[in-house]
Symmetry: C2
Subunit: 506 residues, 2 copies
């Protein structure tokens, strides 16, 4: 009997987050839910990550309502979310009481599996939320953010896994945000975790496909004993997204491993999203091929685009190479954090500052906080000179404790602030929405009654996409390649008589 | 010490044949040759397949001159070509004397490695060319066309490999034209060939990437002992093309296998073709994602597009599903030929005829020939009823012998026909060009002095590409999504007075 390999489907969360800037409207997902529910997935990732932010910022959609809708439409599925530990779905640390309430409410609204991670792999930043998940009787999945550095070793990852298991996690996720996980380390890490934590410890593997090698890494992880792998249906896969679900199914044929996915369901899901995809052309990632430069620079693709646009805004687009060389130095000074939200932005922006204004002449507030321990602890020792500089500039002391320990209970204050807002319905969910993104929530509460906005456009009416972008790192041309908006001269016959007519936008 | 894995680079032949209809002009390849020559490839595929046809039909370029240029620009590389056995680079069987002369001339002009295949895997159709390659002192690579059917077994493929080795082939190529080769069969076939033919028998593996699983298949083939794998530089890879060279290199890190490719060279080659690619937007394949349907239908992607356009021309676009179901039946009746040029076209067109006019009411001439043995022998038994029908309709007898045995010496006649043409320079190469494509050659000889045409266009000036096609099997819309170029009549009111106004490009 082949061994059963479980699959987590990413189409409803990370697939569109990675490929179309998290813009997919709920109504474009609803028609596929029946097939997704029947296909035989171990879980369906559908919430968390950037979806919460995107719902209220761009889609005028209540994220809690989205969760309840998924719960209704996917009655037989484990719903899964991505949770940033003590950051929840926001960009700062929350006090423990808020963490508890967030998890409770997510569980009550239908969430089953909480994948909890911390950008720095600091276990202290995920402990509270993991406990809250367990208290709610739900599945707590502890996460290892995979990165490559002189200090990151298999032993280190295994120790992290052991700590997560000790915290009561029912499974461990090896999470590779930047497609850096090559086949051999995938095998070695999964094998070592199984050996250290016991064969019964579930190991899930999450990879992106940017570098083109990670389907092979999934194969090797499976050979090493991985229980579940993450994929996205083919019509919204590849590039900075994920490996195609259907390819995983086919790849395993005859290998001694198999999924129990229903190919007819997968085909219908594929066709649905193939139809939806062109409606979001304006948000689609430029990267359609593979990008293996990442292995050398260890800088994720999305981070390069960000830095490039920062540089261009300052008229220094030619400085990109210098900045790319500066990133590893800044990362080393910070103690080798994995580069993932928010550490990728913090390190990247500081590298830009270093190149533009001289090395560490100016520190961003966030980089100072990172150096002073306000995001937690990294594997490496921080450069003491920069720590001193950060303390001096920010007038803060370095800390060694858990960052959230510095926070005072804040629920009641958040609650009274939220309830004072027009349109807030007084529910815990609304307070949590406010807690995550105060300014955005304020606008959202006012506009909520207008109902969800679908940013997708009929491709026949939308401006055509730019001509075939190069496979590698190509950027969309700045010029509009749609209907020409410059003056055009036509020959026009009016009542049979020819005129030269020039037409320009009024 | 890691085992060295050799690599054949496809960028100069199959990559642009698969992704941009073989349209790349020589001048767009020349600047990359220095790096290709230095990168450390085992061989550089750069000639044969459809390039010969495309050179004289579309590019006004002498294919023999192209070969000599590559020889000059790649002095340290093995040049490799794809040869269709007794069909050479044309679409009919040639008499043995023509086969000998073609191979001799290719060798004299610089070719080193001849990958020789027959669409039906009929060894009798490759024997003569393999002998000619050996006589010229060059490397003869015998090819197994991989397909899936109830009759195709590992044992069968191994027997074929043994026959090719007996013919004196220095290496065996397992060639997967349609991306059907899954990891486990890749492992099993390579392993079995090595066991049967000896570890010293070189095995090369050629796969396309359409289904998304074949980089894993290459990994498994390497684990089974494959000596060399085919890839294409990343900026012209994936989709109906091939796996990215750079991803292969990275994938192997730490596995006990390694290539000796120079990453700095690969990077420069990548950047060059990333720049060239958008110039050929008009020819680029629509398929950018993966397409796993092929596993069920066993119908290669290109074949589906062909059938679709045949059906549309006859106003029967709605019959595609019926035709797709008819293909496996026709293939079975024909004895399960692999579906590759020309068998894919022959089987596909007959399936269209069956659906449009009733099953086998009308046979195409080519299908009748296939049924009567004029293309050689397949693994399966042909349906006798259809063989009888074919004999009756075509007034030909079925044959069992080698098709080329029926041909009389034809070199002298081809030579005198060619020499009679305006612009023919009287060389053996020109006679061979004429022999391959008589009508096209006639026009080419006349126009040759005008020099090569580059069909690439400055992307800034080219018409915009159609809006983001779906990843899966999407077809380019027939309508031009650029500015409207047909006359349009409006009713226009100027100062209250109505006019009929017709607008057309000036």
């Amino acid at each position: 009997m082949p061994k059963l390999i479980d699959v987590t489907e990413l189409i409803l969360r990370d697939a569109h987050q990675s490929l179309m800037a998290t813009r997919m409207a709920m109504e474009d997902m609803v028609p596929a839910c029946e097939d997704i529910d029947k296909a035989g997935y171990w879980s369906v990732e559908c919430w968390g990550g950037a979806t919460f932010d995107s719902c209220i910022r761009f889609l005028n959609e209540d994220p809690w309502e989205r969760l309840r809708t998924f719960r209704k439409l996917l009655p037989n599925s484990r719903l899964q979310m991505l949770l940033r530990g003590q950051n929840l779905l926001g960009y700062r640390h929350y006090e423990d009481g808020v963490v508890d309430r967030f998890v409770e409410n997510a569980a009550e609204n239908g969430m089953d599996v909480f994948r909890v991670f911390d950008a720095l792999n600091d276990v202290r930043n995920v402990r509270r939320s993991i406990k809250a998940v367990k208290r709610a009787g739900k599945h707590a999945q502890g996460t290892i953010c995979y990165t490559v550095s002189p200090l990151h070793t298999i032993t280190g990852y295994v120790e992290l896994a052991e700590q997560l298991v000790e915290l009561g996690c029912q499974s461990i996720c090896l999470k590779d945000m930047a497609a850096l996980l090559k086949p051999q380390p995938a095998y070695d890490i999964v094998k070592a975790i199984k050996q250290a934590c016991g064969e019964e410890t579930r190991v899930h593997v999450h990879v992106h496909s940017t570098t083109g090698v990670t389907l092979v890494s999934l194969m090797k992880a499976i050979e090493a004993g991985a229980d579940c792998v993450d994929t996205a249906i083919s019509s919204l896969s590849l590039g900075p997204g994920h490996n195609p679900t259907e390819s995983l199914v086919e790849m395993l044929e005859g290998t001694g491993y198999e999924t129990k996915l229903d190919k007819a369901c997968l085909n219908r899901i594929k066709l649905h999203f193939a139809k939806i995809r062109p409606r979001y052309a304006q948000f689609l990632s430029n990267i359609t091929g593979v990008e293996t430069d990442i292995f050398d620079s260890q800088i994720p693709g999305g981070m390069i685009s960000n830095m490039e646009s920062q540089l261009k805004q300052q008229g220094a687009g030619d400085k990109l190479t210098e900045v790319l060389l500066e990133v590893p130095r800044v990362r080393k000074d910070a103690g080798y954090p994995p580069l993932v939200t928010p550490s990728s932005q913090i390190v990247g922006t500081q590298a830009v500052f270093n190149v533009m204004m001289g090395r560490y002449k100016v520190l961003t507030g966030e980089f100072a906080d990172l150096m002073l321990g306000y995001y937690g602890t990294c594997l490496g020792t921080r450069n003491q000179q920069i720590v001193d500089l950060a303390a001096k500039q920010s007038k803060k002391d370095p800390i060694n404790g858990r960052p959230a320990d510095l926070l005072k209970p804040e629920w009641e204050e958040l609650r009274s602030q939220a309830l004072a807002l027009k349109g807030c319905d007084g529910s815990d969910e609304d307070v949590l929405t406010y807690a995550m993104f105060p300014q955005v929530a304020e606008k959202f509460f006012v506009a909520r009654h207008e109902g969800p906005k679908n940013l997708g456009k009929d491709p026949a009416k939308a401006a055509p996409a730019p001509a075939a972008a190069p496979a590698n790192g190509g950027k969309k041309p700045d010029s509009n390649s749609g209907p020409v908006l410059v003056p055009i001269t036509y020959e026009v016959k009016v009542d049979g008589k020819a005129h030269k007519v020039t037409v320009a936008p009024a």
